[in-house]
Subunit: 148 residues, 2 copies
């Protein structure tokens, strides 16, 4: 099996064509990882969520790692890791353009607000909030198996 | 969309039939998440790896979270989260039975030592080490969409 390191441009290609990742955050030395759907605009990852554990944790500790992979089998896979910082797009003034951009991405997909908004819980937890990951570093690997 | 919480037995079913998960660990308030392959024996998750960042980090902070999911589309998915503790199976005396059990699982698959052993690096980093996740808690959710 041959494993190649990906260039930043190749990592970005993967992020452009993918919409599913695993977001890890941590608090008090305990990690937490959940699937997220996201859109990459060439600079940040945009996503949304209702208020739950990951949002509470990321508000406290904004360091995150997002794993995005395309795994065909154990010999053919691509994995990209994004290291960055959680940024909630709350302030209408400060983040208006970013929120608009995020909304534009999500609305291209039917019922974009699901499943983030489908959780049970108090009604105020149903309002989806928009956030982005400010990327500080990406790395990636691709594995291929040469023909026998 | 309907979202159901899974029972512990249902979570275990998912872990039994899955072999791919995302393992998150953390150090100094920074999370790290990577794909792993694993086998579940009904009690622990067994896996192996060459010496790399995740092993170095888990030796320092053994708290981990493993996400295992089966995502058909955004309306049909099952996700299980395993919270637990990294335990390296190093000591031949203490862990002989656990290592044998792990090896038995892995040898059922062709070339089980790939891709964990295919990394570039110093030769001592090529020796795969065996570890298990001692599970302290599992939780899971399943989403279905009722017929229209």
């Amino acid at each position: 099996m041959l494993i190649h390191e990906l260039s930043t441009a190749e990592c970005h290609e993967v992020l452009h064509r993918s919409h599913l990742g695993r977001l890890a955050c941590c608090r008090d030395d305990h990690p937490y990882v959940v699937p997220i759907s996201f859109d990459f605009d060439g600079e940040h990852l945009y996503s949304f969520s209702t208020l739950g554990q990951k949002i509470v944790w990321m508000r406290e500790n904004p360091h995150v790692c997002v794993e995005v992979s395309d795994i065909v089998d154990r010999f053919h896979w691509t994995t990209v890791l994004v290291f960055g910082r959680y940024e909630e797009l709350r302030s209408p003034d400060e983040h208006e353009r970013a929120r608009e951009r995020a909304r534009g991405f999500f609305e291209q997909r039917d019922e974009w607000w699901q499943p983030a908004a489908a959780k049970a819980g108090p009604i105020e937890h149903h309002v989806p909030l928009v956030y982005r990951i400010v990327i500080t570093r990406v790395s990636g690997r691709r594995a291929d198996r040469p023909p026998l």
